[in-house]
């Protein structure tokens, strides 16, 4: 087992955005090797993508079905160990199900599926398979996000009272999906993206981060969704009030029409005796406040930090790590856990820290709850189950 874990990829061909990110994230820590792929629903595009990636021709497949079946035939010493699925949302369920049913572990881009029905069915498939499943809520890979989670788990903030989480973007302020922007096209198309636009694409990240860091579940939501750009089929702005299980209150807003915002994802959490503030665009800093004391800037690699944070930092303080590195932490943790499994060893709990089935299903239920709340005149809508 002294070898890298072998990854096959579904989707992520030439011109795709997130597929390239997954490949960089998988490569950076030297634990994973891309060995095959079905990079596009267009076989020729898949072939070209494979060539661009220096894969041997015979491991570049015209479609995911062929890939799964052919790889399965390869001897154990050659065939892929897991599949990374990086397609638009409507193409998550099929490949994931088939991969699992054929014995391949799965890394899946978020949100889990096109709709909750699929998600619940996939849940059963995963559980039945007994295989590893990672859903790439990548922002949980940042060291300072893990630090925030550790601080809260340690009780340092006291009881959590308030959460403000934001994910504004501005890139969809006009109807760019009508002028050839591939990224916008599928994200604003219900057939490929699902019932939600902004909320599915980025709101789910905000929701996931809030629950991940606080360790608290959202119980009720009050949602106000808007489609600002004429001709758009899905909402491009979302403002939510939240209730958490412990009585904490929250605000979540995300947007794709907030002109000038890049990916200004950030979260603030206030407890009885402390507060935390983290910004994705300056991810190596975590602001920590205590009543009547100077604000502290916790930094990756500086001073005493949690183990979860320390093992997720590669380079000395002041040399910024970013989005790809955080994404890679999910792959690193997944690969370490997979290796333990393949070796028949108990996985190191430190590396079990990657989002999976539960986070995936919560995300889908969140989307449905938000849509239901938006259509309701009642102030509060209970989280669906």
């Amino acid at each position: 087992m002294n070898r890298k874990m072998r990854m096959g990829m579904v989707g992520g061909g030439i011109g795709a955005f997130i597929g390239a990110v997954h490949r960089m994230a998988a490569a950076i820590d030297n634990e994973i090797e891309l060995v095959c792929g079905a990079f596009s629903s267009d076989p020729e595009r898949s072939r070209q993508s494979g060539e661009m990636l220096y894969l041997p021709e015979e491991r570049v497949y015209p479609d995911y079905r062929t890939m799964i079946l052919e790889e399965k035939k390869l001897p154990e010493g050659q065939r892929m160990d897991f599949v990374a699925i990086v397609t638009p949302n409507h193409m998550h369920f099929g490949p994931a199900k088939m991969a699992l049913e054929n014995g391949f572990h799965v890394v899946l881009d978020k949100p889990m599926t096109l709709n909750t029905e699929e998600a619940k069915e996939l849940k059963e498939v995963i559980e039945k398979s007994g295989l590893l499943f990672c859903l790439t809520h990548n922002y949980t890979g940042y060291p300072m996000v893990k630090e925030a989670r550790s601080i809260i788990a340690s009780g340092k903030l006291g009881k959590i009272r308030k959460v403000v989480v934001e994910y504004p973007q501005g890139w969809l302020n006009v109807l760019v999906e009508a002028s050839g922007n591939k990224q916008a096209e599928w994200r604003t198309d219900p057939a490929r993206s699902g019932a939600a636009g902004c909320i599915g694409d980025i709101g789910t990240h905000a929701f996931n981060l809030a629950e991940y860091i606080t360790g608290l579940k959202v119980t009720e939501i009050c949602a106000d969704l808007t489609t600002f750009v004429e001709g758009r089929k899905l909402e491009d702005d979302a403002n939510l009030l939240l209730h958490f299980e412990n009585g904490a209150k929250g605000v979540l807003h995300s947007s794709q029409i907030s002109v000038g915002e890049e990916n200004n994802f950030n979260i603030r959490i206030y407890g009885e005796v402390g507060g935390l503030w983290w910004h994705q665009m300056e991810p190596n800093t975590l602001e920590y406040t205590q009543p009547g004391k100077p604000k502290q800037l916790l930094r990756t690699g500086v001073g005493e930090l949690s183990n979860a944070s320390k093992i997720s930092t590669r380079i000395p303080a002041g040399h910024p790590e970013g989005y790809i590195e955080a994404f890679a932490i999910l792959y690193r943790n997944f690969a370490k856990t997979l290796r333990s499994r393949l070796k028949g060893e108990t996985p190191d709990p430190a590396y079990l820290d990657f989002p999976g089935l539960e986070a995936g299903l919560r995300g889908m239920l969140f989307i449905d709850t938000v849509i239901k709340s938006n259509q309701s005149n009642e102030k509060w809508t209970k989280m669906l189950e």
Copy 2:
């Protein structure tokens, strides 16, 4: 008329916070002279305060009634021109009404009154008196707030789509009102503060700023108020969704339990083709974004700015002006307008820019609407009128 405008003060004795701010704000631009005061409901405390302020003994009064009546008796060349009322909320209505009815112009701290009933009555008094009335929504005095308003009025952002306005503080995270904090005591006491805590104290500023800068009226509110600190009588946290008259959506949240927040008042406004971001704690910068262009940092005193901004800046760029200077702009504008009036001249429209009756009444209606919404299961509550 070649003299400073003469101010009498009600409230603001030794130990008060906002009274001292009013005095500094009134003094800084050399247009106003403090000539008399009734600084406390305790006559001895009033006397001591007057002494501390180097006022002649005979112009320091034991109560506001005496002050108004005695000043009225003084010859025109001596008596005060206007009264600045800086008492807790329950002591706004009485002095303001009496001052106006006795011919004195009024500057009044916010919110306007203890409740809307008083506010509506005061409205009639003001209108009947024909006198000048300024309500100190002081944040509108910042040059970059005025710049934001000018930019939006000019149409540079296109139609406004979204407003996010926040005013978090952390100083009431425990029951400080039970341990002798005077500022906390009256602010958390319904008899002195009115029906709202956090929303009345700082939420009204947020609401006012949003309407002032955008020029848009809020039409509907969905409110979630919480009293986190046990034993407190008024809410200490507020999360609101807003609808504006033009279809814009908004989020407003303010809090007094957000540990570590000082006065992190800030507003973001996104239009079709531009965005603005202003922070009270770094008030000399206004961030301006346009799609596909670098963010611009507009700064007080740098380059081409609106007249409203330029006449509200006193010193060269890079020498920070702050809270007192912004507060002083209201006094400066009030004094300039008052001088014109006393001279029988038409006031310069540039200086008519101070909040008054309308802003005051809107603020009271906002408080009532928020409380009504909070008690309702309906998602949306229309702004009361």
Copy 3:
């Protein structure tokens, strides 16, 4: 003595910059009253300025000589207590000397005089007079500057090793003095400004702040001055290496041609076991570092701070105080000390904290040393005495 201290002003007429700042600074804390002035070398301009300031005609003088002589004739209960001199550098010595010799205390804008010869003579006049003398190195008035000084004095940083102090501006990047900019005109004219341009105008502030905060004296300088703008008579850029008495090393650079810089005055100090960073443009924050610990953001009004800092802060944390407020601290301290003196009381040591004779003379010697070093091929030039 229950009255404000009475100030007369020399210079600072209509159109002047620093005179208005002095007046705002003197007014804000209600300890000082402007009672008379000789605001311009042009008597008519002086008269108009006095009118604009609502002074009685008879206390507006055509020149400083007249003012000093006439005020001296007034009864003690009326005449000014001190003179604030806010003229260009070449007009510091004359009024200061005459005021002191006629029994008036003096507040003087920096640098002390046109040249060191004058400064040394003025030193003798001051000492002989026994009167109060304040030189407005205004940046020492910021609460967080005082906090930095207190921290270092307490030994918390250990032995100081390195000081980096910067004062870049960009407003003289072209020959604005040739196109009617009054502020530029005298600052770039050796006859009015003295032997140095940039170094005299702002470099002295940097030097003063370094010595004030660290409590260390500069012993040797290596200077590289440049006049970048063709036609300019004085240097507009200065880069210096410094040696301090305790072995600490330093870098000081200031500039008026650093395009885009407003007043980016800042200082960093590194000791054996701690560091501090302060920026004039965000003056309410002091960054404090310790090895292997999170950086702390000390803030005016938050938590435990030195007495010097606390008594120099007027409003709650998060409400920014700025340049005028810091400047006002010098006037406040001067006025408090003056009042004690007039009352025959021992002044409170807390308020003796304003720059005076020593800082003034050090500043002049600094200018001379820099110019000498710049002309020398030797690396190090000893500080002149």
Copy 4:
């Protein structure tokens, strides 16, 4: 040639810092494959390192000599294409020379060699070999550094007048080299690091960046070096004044005793009509100023940028790229150029943008000049050649 470029590595075994960075940087863009290595001067440590990296046993060598000779014997389809040398400075020259003389291209960590003599000899070896040589001045790989270079090259700033470049760190504030810190040990040991400590380790980066971005050569230096920590053999602090060939002036300071500084590398450049400011710790932003206009924040991935910047950005704006990504740009450019060469094609000039021989030699001459200047009483020392 449809394959990745094959890299062998010298140094970078278990526990090394920069070797791991090189591997991540080489891996991220999928253009390079690590095929072999001699990771340590200790053969067993080399073997363990190779195992950790999942390399086949037979390609893990006990020393670099063996590696070069054995790899040379392998058929062209297998053997490494180039060697990455990531050893301490005293082990740069030997492996680089031998690799080049045996036909392998070279990527070499900076500074080039232990001393200038070696550097000059290596220069001849490189030129004679005709092979590719990359010296990893990795900070030149940041997109916003390339943007700054492009802006200046375009003339947008006008003639450059002033450069301020800083590289402060704080990690050597005590004698950590005496307590087992491997990174500190060799960096403070003249036998392994060369004649300079701080200046060789990080000062060279600052120097390189200044020349890279401005396109100007430094002509004269005035240096003040200090060893603050008792017992240390090399300087840990450096303050320099610079003269550039076009008359521009500069300040360069770097330090390893600036407590609390992580890797606060930053550069400011002021031209006649514009300024730029870039910070390594927030590398995706480039501040751009023009006289009398708002400061612009240029951001990776936003709006119109130079081609050099655009092809060095992998992910959408607001998703931070960091240190590893910038380092990887050097490897990516090197690999692209190497591929062209191996295919017999003219390399794309866009990818020729990686530091090489000239930058390496300049760096060594810079070190020597600084040391010479530090020992001299003359203010200015001409750059050695």
